[in-house]
C-alpha cells in the first residue's frame, strides 16, 4: 500500500513539474543573452568574479607583488596589464621572465611599521616586476575566466588580444577571442578597432584591417548620433588606423580623404597637414612609365 502511495506521489510531483515549468519560465526576465551554465548558476553575481579574475591577471603580471585590500587600491582603468600605446616597444625579455619596474613613491608597501611586518616581508614578493616574453602567457587563464564570467566586459578581450597578438605572437588566437567578444558585444567599436590592429600589424592584411576600422567608425558614429558620448580619443585612433591601412595599401585617394577626416579631430594637426601635402604631391606626380 505504502509503495502505491509513494508511486502516486512521485507521479503527481512529476506531472505538476511539467505543468509548472513553462509557467515559471515565462516569469523569468526575457533577455537576448546566452544563458550558459555559469550564468544560470551564478546569475548577475558572476560579474563581480569577472572583475576579480581580471585583477588576478594583473596580480600574475606583477608575479604576486600586489596591494591587498588594506593597501592603497589600484585604479582598475590603469592596471599595468591593460593594453598600452601601439608604438611602445620593449627591450628583449630577461631570462627570469621578469622585468624590473621603478616604484613611484617607494611602492605601496612603504617602510615597515614594526619587526613583525619587517620579518614578514621575507615571505612574499616585495619587488615590482612585470612579466616579460613568453611568461606573459601566465595571465591568460584569468582573462579567459573573466570573459566566461562576464562576456560583456570589453576590456578583457582587448587586453587578452594585446598580449596574444603582440608579445606572445598568436594573432589567430587573438582574432578568435575578439570574434567571440564581438558576438557578445556587437556594438563595440573597441573590439572592431582591435581586430583592425590584428589584421594591420600582425596579419599584414591592410584590406581586411580597413574594413574593420570602417565598421568601428560606423559603430562609433552611430553611438555618437544616439547621444551615448563615445570617447573622442577612440575616433582619433580609428581614423589613425584607417590612415595606416591606406598607406599600407598605397591607396592615395582614400588616404587623402582619411587624412582630412583625421585632421579635423586630431590634436596633432600640423603633422597631419604635412602628410596631406606630401600625399597631394604624390597624387599630382604621374606614375613612372604611364603615358602623359
Amino acid at each position: 500500500m505504502i509503495r502505491l502511495v509513494l508511486t502516486l506521489l512521485f507521479a503527481g510531483c512529476f506531472t505538476l513539474a511539467t505543468v509548472l515549468e513553462p509557467r515559471m519560465d515565462k516569469l523569468r526576465p526575457q533577455t537576448d543573452e546566452d544563458t550558459g551554465f555559469m550564468a544560470t548558476l551564478m546569475g548577475e553575481s558572476r560579474r563581480l568574479f569577472a572583475n576579480q579574475f581580471f585583477v588576478e591577471a594583473d596580480v600574475y603580471f606583477h608575479s604576486g607583488y600586489y596591494p591587498t585590500i588594506f593597501d592603497k587600491p589600484e585604479d582598475e582603468a590603469n592596471l599595468d596589464v591593460n593594453s598600452k600605446e601601439e608604438a611602445e616597444t620593449h627591450p628583449p625579455a630577461p631570462a627570469s621572465g621578469r622585468r624590473h619596474e621603478a616604484d613611484e613613491g617607494g611602492g605601496f608597501l612603504g617602510p615597515p611599521r614594526d619587526w613583525i611586518e619587517r620579518f614578514g616581508r621575507h615571505f612574499f614578493p616585495t619587488e615590482h616586476t612585470h612579466l616579460a616574453g613568453d611568461k606573459v602567457r601566465e595571465i591568460l587563464p584569468w582573462l579567459r575566466l573573466s570573459a566566461d564570467m562576464d562576456p560583456h566586459r570589453i576590456q578583457t578581450y582587448l587586453t587578452a588580444s594585446y598580449w596574444l597578438r603582440g608579445t606572445l605572437g598568436q594573432p589567430d588566437e587573438a582574432e578568435k577571442f575578439l570574434r567571440e567578444g564581438l558576438h557578445a558585444n556587437p556594438d563595440s567599436f573597441e573590439i572592431y578597432l582591435e581586430l583592425g590592429y590584428v589584421y594591420l600589424f600582425n596579419k599584414k592584411n591592410p584590406h581586411l584591417a580597413r574594413s574593420e576600422f570602417d565598421l568601428a567608425l560606423q559603430v562609433w558614429e552611430k553611438q555618437d548620433a544616439a547621444g551615448l558620448k563615445p570617447p573622442p580619443k577612440a575616433r582619433v585612433e580609428i581614423l589613425d588606423g584607417m590612415v595606416r591601412a591606406d598607406e599600407d595599401q598605397n591607396d592615395l585617394k582614400q588616404l587623402l580623404v582619411d587624412l582630412e577626416a583625421l585632421k579635423a579631430v586630431s590634436p596633432n594637426q600640423e603633422a597631419i597637414e604635412k602628410t596631406i601635402l606630401e600625399t597631394r604631391a604624390k597624387l599630382a606626380t604621374p606614375a613612372p612609365g604611364r603615358p602623359e
Binding site: 604576486g64 613583525i116 611586518e117
Partner: protein
C-alpha cells in the same frame, strides 16, 4: 618518550584508517588533473594557474585534516572512557598531550608529503623541470604552520566542551589570522584610544601564521628561495608558539576532571 611515540603511532594509524585523507586527496587530484588538461588560447606552457589552484587545495585539505584530526583526539578518549586505562598505564597527562600532538603533527606531515609529491609530479610534468629549493622551503613552512594549528586545536579541545565548537572556532581563528593577522597593525594605526592599543596587543600576541601561508605566492610565482636564516627564524618562531600552546593545553588539562 616511548609512551609519547606509542601514542603518536596510534594517531597515525587512525589517520590512514579514516577516509578523510583519501577523499580530500582524490578531490585535490581530480580537480588538479582536470585543470591541468585544460588549454588556454592553445598555449601549452601555462603552469602558474595550475600551481595556484593545486596549492590552494592542498592548503585547504591539510587544514581540514589537521583541525579535524586534532579536535577529536582528547574528546574521543573521554567519550569512550579509554582515557582512564591510558592514564593508568601509567602515562602522565603531559605525555598524553605530547603523544597526541606528535601523532597529529606527524600524520599531517605524512599527508602533506603525499600532497606535495603529487604537486611536484604535476608541476614537473608541466614545466619539464623539477621544482626548485623554494618548493622544499614552502613544504617545510607548511609543516611548521600545521604544528601551530594542531597545538592550537589541542588547546581548544581541552577548553571547549563540544568538539564541533572547537573545530568551528579554530577554523575561524586560523582563517582570520591568515587573511587579517598581518594587517592588524595598520588597522590599529587607524584607530584611536584604547581600541587601537587592544588591536595592537592582539597583533603582537597572535601566532603569525600568514608568514607560512604567504610563501605559497613565492612558490606559485617562481621566485627564488628564501634566506635560510629567515627560514630558521620562522621555524623557531613556530616552535616557540607550538611549545607555548602545548604548555597552555597541559596547564588546563592537568586540572581538568575527566568524567563527562
Amino acid at each position: 618518550m616511548n609512551n609519547v611515540f606509542a601514542l603518536a603511532g596510534v594517531v597515525i594509524k587512525e589517520l590512514y584508517r579514516r577516509k578523510d585523507f583519501y577523499v580530500l586527496f582524490v578531490m585535490t587530484a581530480l580537480i588538479t588533473l582536470v585543470l591541468g588538461s585544460m588549454r588556454f588560447f592553445d598555449n601549452a606552457g601555462i603552469v602558474r594557474f595550475l600551481k595556484e589552484i593545486c596549492l590552494l587545495l592542498i592548503w585547504i585539505s591539510t587544514l581540514v585534516i589537521a583541525i579535524t584530526t586534532a579536535a577529536r583526539q582528547i574528546p574521543a578518549e573521554r567519550e569512550s572512557r579509554t582515557i582512564f586505562p591510558l592514564l593508568a598505564k601509567p602515562v602522565s597527562r603531559w605525555e598524553l598531550i605530547a603523544g597526541k600532538f606528535t601523532g597529529c603533527w606527524l600524520a599531517c606531515v605524512v599527508a602533506l608529503l603525499v600532497f606535495y609529491f603529487f604537486f611536484g609530479l604535476i608541476i614537473g610534468s608541466h614545466e619539464h623541470a623539477w621544482p626548485g629549493m623554494i618548493f622544499f622551503q614552502g613544504f617545510w613552512l607548511h609543516a611548521v604552520f600545521l604544528a601551530m594549528v594542531v597545538a592550537l586545536v589541542l588547546l581548544g579541545s581541552v577548553v571547549f566542551t563540544a568538539q564541533s565548537s572547537n573545530i568551528t572556532i579554530c577554523f575561524i581563528a586560523v582563517v582570520g589570522i591568515l587573511f587579517v593577522g598581518g594587517h592588524l597593525n595598520r588597522v590599529a594605526g587607524g584607530m584611536r584610544g584604547v581600541g587601537g592599543d587592544i588591536v595592537y596587543a592582539v597583533y603582537y600576541a597572535i601566532p603569525h601564521l600568514e608568514w607560512n601561508f604567504n610563501v605559497h605566492d613565492l612558490v606559485v610565482q617562481d621566485w627564488g628561495k628564501i634566506d635560510w636564516m629567515d627560514l630558521a627564524d620562522a621555524t623557531l618562531y613556530g616552535a616557540l608558539y607550538t611549545g607555548l600552546l602545548l604548555g597552555l593545553t597541559w596547564t588546563v588539562f592537568r586540572r581538568k576532571t575527566l568524567t563527562l
